[in-house]
């Protein structure tokens, strides 16, 4: 292989750039953002920044009262209850797409107890898939590795029920987690008091409500600490929900490791979420299909 730094850098840039999507509506988004900024500055000049902040929270939540932290608590309670209800009542197919500077793009489909997580390489080739497959007519957890054409049955694992535990919060910093009921996980997470409504943000032309989780700092286990040469991991997450349906439209998270002999490391991931009608085609996408010719191995460790 070529080990010339300049060649590797050039090729790495090309590989990275392949993942960059074709943007659309950039000028209109920028024009809207500029207009909002101007309005905010005008309003702030007229009424003071604190009032503008409170108005933003109230506008995001539909509340009527004014005030500081009490308003925020009420806003959070209101939004959380709506998000919980929306997630409990939905019978839609979830599609999440994650982009990150640190791992390959991935897609996650879920419908009821069916789910499929698939990670791609930078050039768009399938890399791994995790989720449920129909084997002998029964829903079974499977793990597929495309690069060596193998698959195995995934053992049941005790996944955290919500992000309210420390380990649960770590799950929020990556892509929508595979092999779990992600809507239920999010529902439990916003309900446990670890999140606060922190205003709103424009995503895809929609003014979403922003819910921010409490940051968590975790001391790494000795094994993990040895692997990454760090001692601590700090995780943050933010969820954006549609103000009309209260269903999540985006999850962003970050992990920051530090405190060891290696330089600190910061990684982020953003998952864009869409809720689709439960057509037969969409439901089928929530199942992992094992490609013909792939070899069955005893456990994921053999892959």
């Amino acid at each position: 292989m070529s080990l010339d730094v300049e060649d590797l850098l050039r090729q790495g840039m090309e590989r990275f750039a392949e993942q960059v999507p074709v943007p659309s509506g950039l000028a209109h988004q920028a024009a809207r953002a500029r207009r909002r900024r101007r309005l905010t500055i005008r309003a702030a000049a007229a009424a003071g920044t604190a009032a503008v902040t409170a108005a933003a929270v109230l506008a995001a939540t539909g509340g009527r009262s004014a005030g500081g932290s009490a308003t925020r608590v009420r806003a959070t309670a209101y939004v959380v209850s709506r998000v919980e209800k929306a997630l409990a009542d939905q019978h839609l197919v979830l599609r999440g797409r994650t982009t990150s500077g640190d791992w390959g793009p991935s897609v996650y489909w879920a419908y009821g107890s069916r789910n499929r997580f698939k990670e791609l390489t930078g050039s768009g080739e399938p890399y791994i898939a995790v989720g449920t497959a129909l084997i002998g007519g029964k829903l079974t957890g499977v793990y597929v590795t495309y690069y060596n054409r193998k698959w195995s049955v995934l053992p049941e694992r005790a996944a955290p029920a919500s992000a309210c535990s420390r380990t649960g919060t770590l799950e929020m910093a990556g892509p929508a987690a595979p092999a779990r009921n992600w809507p239920a996980f999010i529902r439990a997470t916003v309900a446990c008091g670890a999140a606060t409504v922190t205003g709103h943000a424009w995503i895809g032309g929609v003014k979403t409500v922003r819910i921010t989780g409490s940051p968590v700092t975790e001391k790494l286990s000795p094994g993990e600490a040895r692997a990454v040469h760090e001692k601590w991991l700090r995780s943050r997450w933010t969820l954006y929900v549609n103000p009309h349906t209260y269903l999540p439209v985006r999850l962003s998270g970050s992990n920051y490791t530090y405190g060891g002999p290696m330089p600190s490391y910061y990684s982020t991931g953003v998952t864009d979420i869409r809720w689709l009608r439960p057509t037969a085609a969409n439901i089928a996408k929530a199942l992992v299909t094992i490609p013909p010719g792939f070899r069955h191995v005893r456990s994921p460790a053999s892959q």
């Binding site: 080990l3 730094v5 850098l9 509506g25 000028a27 024009a31 690069y147 892509p175 290696m262």
Partner: protein
Amino acid sequence: MAAQDQRVENLEQFLARRGQALLRTAALLTGSIQAGEDLLQAAIERLLRQRGRVDGDPEGYLRRTLCNLATDEFRRQSRWRRKLHLLQAEAPTSADTTAEVDLRDAMVRLLGQLPAQQRTVLVLRYWEQLNGPETAELLGCSEYAVKSAASRGLRRLRELAGGLLSDETQPHDITARTGDGS
């Protein structure tokens, strides 16, 4: 208002042709697609303030603004962006099928450890294919400063990647999972 809308419309048409190229540069300057989108949007907002430039060729202005904003952002975030390390806690999520591919990815990640000017110069040179005088003009600095930044940036990259480059037969941890011989 109609004139403003027309300007936005013209800009949208321009971005339909050149938006992806600009976004790729922005993503390389910032190290992530998400941050690149934010950077490009900020540059477009600035462009919209410069009414006269939108009607001409806005590409040069946008490219220069991207570089300047990226440098400012790096300075602001230098506390934690200064350094990245190669190891990752969860190997499966970042690996690829060959060590060479991983080395290329590592190079782009290592760019984040370079000072803002060195990183910008390397992106302009190796991604935008600009030569020394063109880079100097874009950044508003001397050609000597560009050469110096490129040289120091490459030297630093070699230092940072030293462990990976010197051990060709032992792929780094993050590709170890692919080496099962199958």
